[in-house]
C-alpha cells in the first residue's frame, strides 16, 4: 500500500474517532426519559399535566404544585442546585434554567441529558411544551395540553371582548406598609401577556422590561383605572385589603383609588408560567371585568 493511502486511512480513522467522541450528547438520547429531575417549577407542572409525573424523581426547592411533588426529594433551585444530590439520583434528564450554564456543563460531562429553559412571554409556554413533550417522549399529550391552554385563553379573551379595557397597574411586589419598593410588570413577559388577554391595558406597556420599579410620580402620571396586586404566597386577610387601600389612598387622584378598584389576587398559580396560566388569566379577567363573569 502506498504511504499516501496509508496516511489517508489513518487520517480518516482519526477523524471518525474524533467526530464520534465530539458528537452532541443529545443526539444519542433516547426519545423518552424515565428519571427526570426538574429545577424549574413551571416545567414540573407541565410534566405532571402531560402525564409524565411518574417519571419525575426530584424537583426544585421552589416546587409546590401539583401536590404530588411535596413528597419528592428537593435538589436546590436556580442559584443553589445541589449537584451531588442530582448526580446521586442518577437522572437521565435534567430540566434546568438556561442561565445555569455551569450545571449544564457538569451534567454534560456526566453524560446526562439537559433540557434548557428560559422565561419568555405567554407564547413561550407553547414552544416549551412542544420541546418538553418531545424530550420526554409525550409529544401527543403535550400538543393536547397546548391546545387546551390555547382554548382556555381564547375563551377568556372572547368573554371580555368588546368591553372597555381598563388601564391597569400590575403590581407584583411592594413594601407592605408603604408605596416604597413597588415593582410592576413592564411590557414584556407572561404577566403582561396574561393582562392583555384578560382585557386590560398595561400602563407600563411602553417599558420593554419584565419588571419596572416605578416612582410615585410615574404612577400618578399614568393614572391607572385598576391596580391589580398579585401575591404569590399567603392568604388574603381583610386587614391586608384594608391596609392596601390605605397605602394606595395616598395617590388620591388615581382613578383606581377614587373608584376603589384595588384588586388583590393571591396564589402561586398567578406567577408560574405553566399549565395553570388559564386559571391565572381568568382570575385577572374576573378582577378587571367582574360583569363579564356574572
Amino acid at each position: 500500500m502506498a504511504a499516501g493511502t496509508k496516511r489517508l486511512i489513518t487520517v480518516a480513522v482519526v477523524a471518525l474517532i474524533v467526530f464520534w467522541a465530539a458528537r452532541p450528547v443529545t443526539m444519542q438520547s433516547r426519545a423518552s426519559a424515565s428519571r427526570i429531575v426538574s429545577l424549574v417549577p413551571a416545567l414540573t407542572e407541565m410534566l405532571f399535566a402531560i402525564g409524565a409525573g411518574p417519571q419525575v424523581i426530584a424537583v426544585s426547592s421552589f416546587d409546590e404544585f401539583p401536590p404530588q411533588v411535596k413528597s419528592l426529594p428537593r435538589v436546590g433551585a436556580l442559584l443553589d442546585p445541589d449537584m451531588e444530590r442530582i448526580l446521586a439520583l442518577r437522572p437521565d434528564l435534567v430540566l434546568s434554567y438556561g442561565s445555569q450554564t455551569d450545571v449544564q456543563a457538569q451534567l454534560a460531562r456526566a453524560n446526562i441529558r439537559v433540557f434548557s429553559y428560559r422565561h419568555a412571554g405567554l407564547n413561550g409556554i407553547f414552544t416549551t411544551l412542544k420541546d418538553l413533550g418531545a424530550a420526554v417522549g409525550r409529544p401527543a399529550d403535550a400538543e393536547r395540553l397546548a391546545r387546551d391552554i390555547r382554548g382556555g385563553l381564547d375563551a377568556i379573551q372572547a368573554r371580555v371582548r368588546g368591553r372597555p379595557k381598563p388601564k391597569t397597574l400590575l403590581v407584583f411586589e411592594r413594601d407592605p406598609a408603604s408605596l416604597r419598593s413597588v415593582y410592576v410588570s413592564g411590557g414584556v413577559g407572561f404577566l403582561h401577556d396574561m393582562l392583555g388577554i384578560a382585557g386590560g391595558v398595561n400602563v407600563f406597556a411602553d417599558v420593554a422590561r419584565e419588571s419596572v420599579q416605578p416612582s410615585i410620580e410615574t404612577m400618578l402620571a399614568r393614572s391607572p383605572d385598576v391596580i391589580l396586586e398579585v401575591r404569590a404566597t399567603g392568604l388574603l386577610a381583610a386587614a391586608d385589603v384594608a391596609q392596601a387601600k390605605r397605602v394606595w389612598g395616598a395617590l388620591a387622584s388615581v382613578p383606581a383609588v377614587k373608584q376603589g378598584r384595588i384588586e388583590i389576587l393571591t396564589g402561586e398559580h398567578l406567577v408560574v408560567p405553566g399549565p395553570r396560566v388559564v386559571q391565572g388569566t381568568e382570575a385577572f379577567a374576573r378582577a378587571l371585568h367582574p360583569d363579564a363573569f356574572k
Binding site: L78, L79, E173, D175, P176, A177, S178, L179, R180, S181, F204, D206, V207, R209, V212, Q213, P214, S215, I216, E217, T218, L220, A221, S223, A250, L251, A252, S253, K258
Partner: protein, 361 residues
C-alpha cells in the same frame, strides 16, 4: 460595593497624617464676613436648586394647575405629582445630602483623615444589615412615623456605632482614632459577612429589594419618613454647632488641641455621636447613599478653605443641593425608569475619589 469601600479604607491609614497637616492651615481674614459670604453663596445655590427641582420630572406638569385652588386636590394630578411625588423627594434629598456631607466633614476631622466617610466606621453596614433583616423576615413593625425598614436600619446603625464607640473609649478617656478606624473597618467587614449570609438564605425577591435599598432611594412618597428623621437631624445639627472651632484645633492633633485648652475627649465624643446620629438618620431616610460624604466636603474645601467654621455649614448647604441635583438626574435621565440615586452619586464620586487619592499621592 463593600469591597470598594474596604479598598478605599486600606488607603485611609496611609493618608492619615497628611490630612491633619493640610487641615491645620488657619484662615486669617475676618471670619464673620467670610461666613456671611459663604452662607449666602451656598444658600442661594440650595434655594435655587430646591425651587427648580420640583418643576422638572419624568412627566410634564402644569404649574398654574398645581397651585389652582379651585380644583380639589384629589382631582388635581399635577398638584399631586408636585406635592406627593416631588416635594418630599426634594426635602428628603436636602436632609440626607446635608446630613451625609456634614457627617463626612466631622469624621474626616475626628479621624484626621481626608478619606474618611460617614460610612467608614460601620454605620452603613449596620444599617444595611438591619434593613436586610427587616426585608427578609418580612416583619411589619412600626413606631410612630417610622415604618419597618427605616426603623430596622436605624437600629442596625445605632448598634454598629455603639460597638465602635465602646471599643474606642475602652482604654482611656480620650478616644483612640486608630482604634476607631480599625474597629470601624473590622465591623464593616463583619457586618458585610452577616449581610452575605442573610442574603444567601433569603429568597430572590427579598435579596433584590435589599440590594435596591442599598443603592439608595429618595422616593419617600410622603412626609412621614421625613418627620421621622427630622428630630434626630435637628439634634445632630445642634451638636455640630458646638464643633467647628474645636475641630480646627483637633485636626492639628490631639496634643496640640489639648494644649490650647480643648477638652479633647469631650470634643471627640460629641463629634462621634453627632456625626453617627446624622448618618443614621440620613440612611434610615434614604438608604446608604455613597460618596456624598467625601465628594461634598472636599469640593467645599477647594472653594472656601479648610476652616471648619466655614466648611461645616457650607457642606450642609452644598450637600443638600448636590443630592437634590443627583436625584433630579436619577428620576429624569432614563424616565420612565429610574436610576438609583446611589448609582449616580457613585458614578460621580468614584472618579472624584480616585482623583483625590492620586492628588494626595
Amino acid at each position: 460595593m463593600n469591597r470598594l469601600r474596604q479598598g478605599a479604607l486600606d488607603s485611609v491609614a496611609a493618608a492619615n497624617t497628611q490630612a491633619g497637616g493640610e487641615l491645620a492651615r488657619v484662615v486669617p481674614s475676618p471670619i464673620r464676613t467670610r461666613l456671611l459670604k459663604t452662607m449666602v453663596g451656598f444658600g442661594v445655590l440650595l434655594v435655587v436648586t430646591c425651587l427648580v427641582a420640583p418643576l422638572v420630572g419624568s412627566s410634564p406638569i402644569n404649574i398654574a394647575r398645581v397651585f389652582d385652588r379651585s380644583i380639589p386636590f384629589s382631582e388635581n394630578v399635577d398638584a399631586q405629582i408636585f406635592f406627593i411625588a416631588r416635594m418630599p423627594r426634594v426635602v428628603a434629598g436636602v436632609m440626607a445630602g446635608a446630613a451625609l456631607a456634614t457627617a463626612g466633614v466631622v469624621f474626616q476631622a475626628l479621624l484626621r483623615n481626608a478619606l474618611a466617610t460617614p460610612f467608614t466606621l460601620g454605620v452603613s453596614a449596620g444599617a444595611s444589615l438591619g434593613a436586610m433583616l427587616a426585608i427578609v423576615l418580612g416583619a411589619t413593625i412600626s413606631a410612630g412615623p417610622f415604618s419597618t425598614v427605616p426603623l430596622a436600619s436605624l437600629v442596625g446603625a445605632s448598634i454598629a456605632a455603639a460597638i465602635v464607640y465602646r471599643l474606642a473609649t475602652m482604654q482611656d478617656r480620650a478616644m483612640s482614632t486608630t482604634v476607631l478606624l480599625l474597629a470601624g473597618v473590622t465591623l464593616n467587614s463583619f457586618f458585610s459577612a452577616l449581610i452575605m449570609f442573610v442574603q444567601y438564605i433569603a429568597d430572590f425577591v427579598q435579596v433584590y429589594r435589599a440590594m435596591r435599598w442599598i443603592m439608595g432611594d429618595l422616593d419617600v412618597g410622603s412626609f412621614e419618613p421625613i418627620i421621622a428623621a427630622l428630630p434626630m437631624l435637628a439634634i445632630a445639627f445642634a451638636m455640630f454647632a458646638w464643633l467647628p472651632s474645636s475641630l480646627n484645633l483637633l485636626s492639628v492633633g490631639a496634643d496640640a488641641a489639648s494644649a490650647r485648652g480643648v477638652d479633647v475627649g469631650r470634643t471627640q465624643r460629641l463629634a462621634f455621636v453627632s456625626a453617627s446620629l446624622a448618618t443614621a438618620a440620613a440612611v434610615s431616610l434614604a438608604g446608604p447613599i455613597g460618596f456624598i460624604g467625601i465628594v461634598v466636603p472636599h469640593l467645599v474645601r477647594l472653594m472656601v478653605g479648610v476652616d471648619h467654621r466655614l466648611v461645616l455649614p457650607a457642606s450642609a448647604l452644598f450637600g443638600g443641593a448636590f443630592l437634590v441635583l443627583c436625584d433630579l438626574g436619577a428620576r429624569t435621565l432614563l424616565a420612565p425608569l429610574e436610576i438609583p440615586v446611589g448609582v449616580i452619586t457613585a458614578m460621580l464620586g468614584g472618579p472624584f475619589f480616585l482623583w483625590l487619592l492620586v492628588r494626595k499621592g
